[in-house]
Subunit: 195 residues, 2 copies
Amino acid sequence: MADSSNGPATPSPRKRADARRNEQTLLEVAAAAFIACGVDAPVRDIAAKAGVGVGTIYRHFPTRADLVVAVYRHQVEACVEAGPTLLASNDSPHTALTRWIDLFVDFLVTKHGLAEALQSDDATFVTLHAYFIDRLTPVCADLLAAAAGAGEIRADIGAFELMFAVGNLCIGANKDPRYDARRVVALLLAGLRLD
Amino acid sequence: MADSSNGPATPSPRKRADARRNEQTLLEVAAAAFIACGVDAPVRDIAAKAGVGVGTIYRHFPTRADLVVAVYRHQVEACVEAGPTLLASNDSPHTALTRWIDLFVDFLVTKHGLAEALQSDDATFVTLHAYFIDRLTPVCADLLAAAAGAGEIRADIGAFELMFAVGNLCIGANKDPRYDARRVVALLLAGLRLD
DNA sequence: GAACATACGGAACCGTGTTCCGATTAGCAA
DNA sequence: TTGCTAATCGGAACACGGTTCCGTATGTTC
């Protein structure tokens, strides 16, 4: 579903040159706006900064989720690919799991408002949630299975549940210095250990 | 600050009779609306169901947080009082802590949208967050200190951080059957254990 | 029952997301 | 180069929810 539904991902050569240019500009401007205002950056602001009308945004990215996914796709895919790599390069699957979760947490924590958006009940964001789950849950499942197989962790937690929990723990990560998402996530992973 | 700032808490006899009546009606209607639509229930809806104008709501509860706090005050206070009680009635402080957190999780999970609101970056809700933290953090701190003192848990987590984390884990608790906030919170508490 | 303060209602305003259509322009063929 | 056509654009207009404000209504007091 990822690539078949939304054209924006694959800059098909059938598109007009100005359309491709606008799409590119929008991606850059949106990335900047997300850093500045979070993923809820007003549509009009993004349009204005990109020098286009709001209609142009909606034509390229029908929902906000489409835009967010387009902006962060590279980083999510990098995270997907890091899973097997970490598993191969670490003796302990639990270490690999921890490192991978760290990667994910780093990603979420540095993207202002992303973790919040992932849990927003706004219908616009269900696609976003689905994308993250679709891509990352299988990777997490492999890491979990490896760690459980090695007898390092209990086997009674699902990949979905873990991803969901970690995502939640990243919400508001930069709001108060007394809260450190990384530390709490580490605690959760510690709770998973068997020995 | 809790009682000095917002009249709604103390039904001062200086208020007009119709005002007190409206306030009561609003509390009841709001409670029902929160169950039906979550704490984001449209102001106009609540006003309409209560048979008053929107202005009346804003006069009694200037911010949404005021209304939410008024609706849930009793339950929050019950949670506050449960802390010392549990500590007294359980041999193991860790058990008391676990039970108390369970209470808190139950409260959040059954209040549609409350956990989300607690972390909303909407300025309207910072007061709500502050109220919960003000009331519950000290209780949690006592439980943590007792458990740490008994050597049952590590001492390197603050009450604020734990409350924050638990609150976060309750977000979206009823959204997907694969995610069980209670189970994940239990895992987090397990990660705290020393044994 | 008159005068006053208090409280009420809801119209109006504002900021955002979203839709829609007339104007514009890239791409192409003659 | 010029003219045609379809793809694309821009932004006005609409929808919706929160918030403010003030003329009106009503409880309260004397």
